[in-house]
Amino acid sequence: MEKRVTFRGLTLPLLLVLPQILISGVFFFYPAGQAIWQSLFIPDPFGLSSQYVGLGNFEFLLSDEYYRASFITTAVFSILVTLVCMLPALLLALLADRLIKGAGTYRTLLIWPYAVAPAVAGVLWLFMFNTRVGVISWYLGQLGYDWNHVLNDKEAMGLVVVASAWGRISYNFLFFFAALQAVPKSVVEAAAIDGARFWQRTFSIVLPLISPTMFFLLVVNVVYSFFETFGVIHTITSGGPQQATTILVYKVFADGFIGQDLGSSAAQSVILLFVVGALTVIQFKFVEKRVHY
């Protein structure tokens, strides 16, 4: 797509793009290049010199038990987050779609959590499940269940998943609701005349019709759980107990800033770079589809 009518000039357009080129160059391309460069070296412990190791950092990483475990943790985490944020959102959207009056009010109320930062969401959920003062952990205790996410791997994972998915429910709700509203009423009514019940209509007509939105949300939510949940994990578990909630992005931070293992951290960044690339390609493929329905 090109404009037919354009202005003449060379200095002006270059001046116009200059700020963006400068900022992207200094704060994006240079650091990204550095990450790739550093991933080929192992700095000595005093940071005075570094030794070229080729793909050594990558070989080491891929044979590192902890790193491989982190891959699995990330997979489990992102699948769970995606499910936990999409299913309730879909249910709420299906309900809201049945209403003629009041749907707008519910939407306004449900938007709230989207505005809550992941790190703040982490603090809220930590507060509810705190082993000493948490309300929910206390009631669980009354029921005879001893909640302790500080020691128990599965409970820690469950808590960071729910805290990460919580604010995301709003986002998914908005997209599902918009998609449902766009489903032609005549199709649904025709099915109703033929005697299809609500759930039959939902599963055989409505959900297939909104499947492009579902695929789109699936990809977007996976991207979210990979890259934007750092705040939740850092506030609630700091990657623990042991490494039970250390997802890939958290490990880049932990190895780079706490462990000071710059070579390994850079190599992890490069691996993540490929993961993002793959996800972006998938995302654009689905977005293409989404436009055509």
Binding site: F27, F28, R98, P118, K185, H234, V249, F257
Partner: protein
């Protein structure tokens, strides 16, 4: 058996086929309200905790209805805080969020205008450069970006908080898409009338982009306000902490009990500005969401 053909009495309203009435309608409302309550519960609990005293919280179960310490807790949070007054952190967050929103919108408007309305050498290279920056979140390149910022002496500064986060081109991409939809006749007319490109930009393009700019502002404001990892790395001086990253710093290290009422008051203060922006500009917000994901 022919009751189905019985003519409908004329004053009975025609119900839609699939809209729910009566009991089923109420059930839908009840379920919906339940859903909203469950989703809202964490926020409610934080609010309650911010209005009661510490002893009420540390002897569980804490009350589920607000107490009378509202003013006391918020005053303590805002003006003394734990490491630094929360008012300072709020101010820092505001500067950061506004800086990111305005900065990104300004540089993106200019470069998108150049890409769409000019032919200059390197234009395609530039466009692809922009495309690549869409893919890499700051989390992935933190260590080298930190080194760059430290090298410029921008640790603990607003520019250090803002610049690395505007180095991505989502907004440029968006404005480019929008500028492509502006009718060519407008640019033609401007050229015939002898208007300079910048005159055309300020008098035609900018006013036409108002809604897009506002929608993008909502999204960027929340994005900037809610940043966590980046401020955590570069603001070691408590006076430069932003509120979202500062909350975690309020927890004591070791075994001491956290000052929950103040922490929860701070959490409420941290979520109020973005919530106000989202709720009051709901239409723009939804539009911004849809635009920025396209």
């Amino acid at each position: 058996m022919f009751s189905i053909l019985k003519p409908r009495s004329t004053n009975e309203p025609l119900p839609g086929m699939v809209e729910k009435r009566g009991a089923s309608l109420w059930l839908t409302h009840v379920l919906m309200i339940l859903g909203v309550l469950v989703v809202f519960f964490p926020i409610w609990l934080a609010f309650v905790a911010s209005t009661v005293s510490q002893p009420e919280i540390v002897s569980p179960p804490m009350p589920l209805l607000p107490g009378d310490q509202f003013l006391e807790n918020y005053k303590r949070a805002l003006f003394s805080g734990i490491n630094v007054p929360v008012a300072t952190m709020l101010f820092n967050s505001l500067i950061m969020a506004l800086g990111i929103s305005f900065g990104k919108i300004a540089i993106s408007l200019l470069s998108a205008f150049a890409i769409v309305y000019f032919r200059f050498p390197g234009r395609n290279v530039f466009f692809w450069m922009i495309f690549i920056t869409l893919m890499l979140p700051v989390e992935v390149r933190i260590v080298p970006t930190y080194e760059v910022v430290a090298g410029f002496g921008m640790l603990n500064s607003y520019s250090g908080l803002i610049f690395p986060l505007i180095a991505s081109a989502t907004a440029t991409f968006l404005f480019r898409q929008f500028f492509m939809t502006i009718p060519d006749e407008l640019a033609e007319a401007a050229r015939v009338d002898g208007a300079s490109p910048m005159r055309f930009f300020f008098d035609i393009v900018l006013p036409m982009s108002r809604t897009n700019i506002a929608a993008l502002f909502v999204i960027l404001f929340i994005y900037g306000w809610n940043q966590y990892l980046w401020p955590l790395l570069i603001t070691t001086d408590p006076d430069m902490n932003t509120i979202v990253m500062g909350i975690k710093q309020m927890f004591p290290s070791g075994d001491d009990t956290a000052d929950w009422p103040v922490i929860m008051a701070t959490s409420m203060l941290a979520m109020i500005p973005p919530v106000i922006v989202v709720v009051s500009m709901q239409k723009l917000f939804i539009r911004g969401l849809v635009d920025s994901e396209k």
